[in-house]
Amino acid sequence: MNPQAIVARPPKNTSAAQHYVLKFDAAKSGLEFLRHVRNYIYFLSGNYDCGVQVHLGLTYKGLETLDLPAPYLRVLARNSPAFAQGAAIRAPYLGDTLHSAPECWPEFFAKENAHAILSFYGKNKDDISAIVKMVFESPRIIAGQRTPKNLPSPISKILNVKYSPLTDDSTPIERIRRRLTNGTAESTEGDFVHFGYRDGLTSVGFNYPGRKSSLKKGIEEQWHEPGEFLLGRINNDGRNPWALSQATDKVKAFFLDASFGILRQMEQDVASFEAYVSAQVDIEAGKSVDYIKAKLCGRYPDGSLLNPATGTGDSLLPIPLHDADKEGFGCPFGAHIRRMNPRSNDVVHLRQRPLIRRGMPYGVEWTGKDKDVDAKSRGLMGLFFCASIEEQFEHLVGSWADRLPMGFKGAPMSKDPLMGTQEASHNRFEIPLPSGAPIELVDIPTFVTTRGMIYAIYLGAEGLSLLLSDDLIKEDDEEDQ
């Protein structure tokens, strides 16, 4: 088992990241560039560590541009139509409409322009910038090509590879670290997102040889079969949808241990969020800022859970056990975490739809005081991994976030209060109470706008080697068999 390391485990000791969208000029130069990049890519079995982990995702358009033979493209189009179509075409299903619609995304997210994603994770901005420079600007003279005055030029220039940073100022993004008010001996600091919630409290993953549990107290672990995230492996249902029974060994090897990655830039309107939450506060009725935030998310900002018995804090539960909260008195049915990870069996036709999350906030923190700082763009640069874009990522975002998961009680068409593109008449949120009528929050604005999205495949070590060495089954070979 040798997928790219980021799929199997969170990048170690990393606080910063940067993502680039690449566009290749042609197959030959694109492959040449990727052979150069190959040296930096971090696979699970690799024991080299330059301090910065580099990961490569290729889009369907990118694979077409790199002249991936038709037998492989056909497998992708048949087994993952969402990947083949690309993120923009799937956006309406996800609820990425209106201001989040693809026509509002920057040009480099366009299907024709996004061929690959190159992600860099490192300890700090400087480390990342150094590797970025080596990857894109290594002086190089390509055999048979002459540069002006015979001087070496940046490789990306020689090979006509366009690379666009996802953040406006092209500087790497960094985690928001804060001291925990409820910290423990093991952890006094935690990661946070711009809305002020603690992040990284649930670890989703799969078992692989040599996996070490290094998780800290208070972190929930959810382990699944590898096939939920890796192609060619058995999933939670005991099936292998990428068994490719009729394909040749070379085709199977190409896809083995690949994973689909979804890069999704989500801009967060912190000012609107804080203003809306403040407007709902009613201290006499017990509705503090933290209470409202806790109900919208399903956790208090510091990560602590809501007690189903009282409907407020101090839950003794270590993890969100929604089975024990059948009426939603603790965690409302419409709350963000209950939708995104229902865990229990109250969802109609339950099928676990796990996603590995490797996201990180971008942009400077909102202050509420400094207008210049607050006017800047900020949000979450989400990077999600799964084996089925349709059944996992798209179902979560397009179904469970876009309406209440079927089977839940409450306003069925209401959207995720934190991340939904709100529409009139459905922009409400119910807080069930142990006694009395539920509290209803209405006129919820849209707090999150999708600024762009890319569907990519992160090939395993063997798949990438086969691609770069052009050791692939061609159309004619397949017909001969």
Binding site: I89, A91, P92, A110, E112, P241, M406
Partner: protein
Amino acid sequence: MSGKAKRKPFNENDYQSAVDKHAKNRVIFEWICDDYDRAKLYQKLSTLQIDTRGTKLGAKPFPIKSRSKFLDDPSPLKSDSTDDCGSIVYLVHNRKDINSIMLDTDSYSNLPYLEIGSGGFMLGLDPLGISVPVGKVDIHKIQREALEHSLVSWQAAEVKTLSQLAVKEAKVMALRNKFFDVADFSEQAALRFCIKLFGFATSDYGLLEESLRRTYRGMNYQMFGRHFLSEPLTLPLAKEWMGRLGTRVSQLLDEYQHLPNYPRWDERLGDPRAKQRLLPEGVEPLSDFGLTGGKPVLQVLATTKLNLTGQERMVIAVGTLAGIVGNVQASVCIAVEHILNQLKNNHIKKSVGSPSAKAFALQPDDWTWIAEAMKLNPPAPYLPRIVAKEVTTPSGFKFNKGDELILMIGTGTNDTSPICPFHNVAGQKEDSLIFGFGENTNLPKQPYSQHWCVGDFLARPLIEETVRATLSLPGLSRRYDPVTAEPLRLEKRWGFACEKFPLSYKREKLRTQQSLNVVMRIKAPIPENAERLKRVIVGGAPRIESALIKARHVHFAWFEFIENDTKLVLHTVYDGDFEAYVSHFALTVDDMFDQLFMSIEGSPPLPVRDFPNEFVETLRRYNLPPAGGYLFSAYPTAETHQITAAVDAGTL
């Protein structure tokens, strides 16, 4: 494979450098057909220094060589030595000239409309007098009064209610799938509006649809297209279909006239059919829809004392119908596209929708957006005129008798100079070139009021309701080119007649239930396999039952043998969409499907467990949608789990 080739950018020199008059005609046409180029052309028209008469024109009417030699030239005679692009038509683009021409009905005639059979009527709508003198009778005034009279019983509130009803009815079919076409939706709304307003039978829908499409296209051809294209069939077909519609209208007028004296049946106390006594067969009483004030236009036209023949009454009705449907369709499409285009610059977030919610939907006071869209792209952007006598325009251009003109309404509405004030209706900016605002409005007459336009009273509420209904659809989105992922845009014929505007919405939020009808051919030997399948179904029924109960999203499911037991059909009604639920559910009973598929032709590779994607594709391929895509549900938003929970709780 990929989308359309990119157009080369607008270059005003293309006209001068065009090799001949054919090429020049084509350059102008290409510019006019493209939104971006047309806007550039409008900007440049006032400065282009081209004049076939040898003088510099500046902002004066711009002459182009027309492909249409004669006014009534659907197809030139073989014996005629056609001089293609030999005649001149003037594009009148100066606001002052347009205003003047529309008001001066002594000097300018709307004769071109005669070719499609309504030249005597109010297409083009002059405020006074007539375009074609008929003795000393002011026929136009009589016609206008007749139409006004036929609408007297309709109050604005009732027109609004009728609009809402028409939109609601149009939703049933136009929005039956998640992919829909705004052009289709708005056309359906307008047709259903007209059926009730005029008092047609429901069964007249098809006739109205086809005849008004043909007529609208004929009008557009006559007004504009014939100068650039040759479509020999367009006008004859328009005339033929207008004739068919006219025949039906005449028949209804006769019936409406006849029925007061000879009701369909005697009035009896308590007879539920009483309200239909004076209505022709198939006409639904307006009171059935809560419309108690308005009377069918045809009924009033038929029974009112007017100095008009039956033929003239028919022409009034047909002419009005022809003016409503196509223009409502165009207005709605233009407005929706304009508003969606504004999303990119973020202005729409603040201005459309509830300010507090910042949720997206057109609110009652958001007409401004529609008005702005129509100002930028008027739904009826070209009006034809013939010069009736020698005359000089306000811009100083001298026309000769017989000169053909096209009034470029789009240049007029985009003229922002101070001489072109917007009319201020309830504080909203609007242009009199679109809805007229003539002497029949309650407003004081304005210097640039053009005409009394029935559109302001009838079409405007319908446009507003249809645009609002479209923008309120959950998950409203553009559709994207499947190859390039570029958004599919509003398709306009000749740059203005809106033919297609594909969008999508989350249908399951309005109608959660879906049907699945998988029709599978039984493998030979058919009798044996049919018997085997029956045994499999009987034997597996408890297993299916258990799986369906556990699934909690299937309302009904059954098998049916059809065509003499040669095909097996799996029917289900379920919640959610196919991708999200059917595929995974089916995989939970995959062994059952293995058994079934053993006796089915064209089955996917088995076992299902090893070929899940192929299995799902097979289901999709053999699935037949309901006829016309129409599926009725008495409770379209109720989901299985909600119903069973209510049953379990004893509340249902």
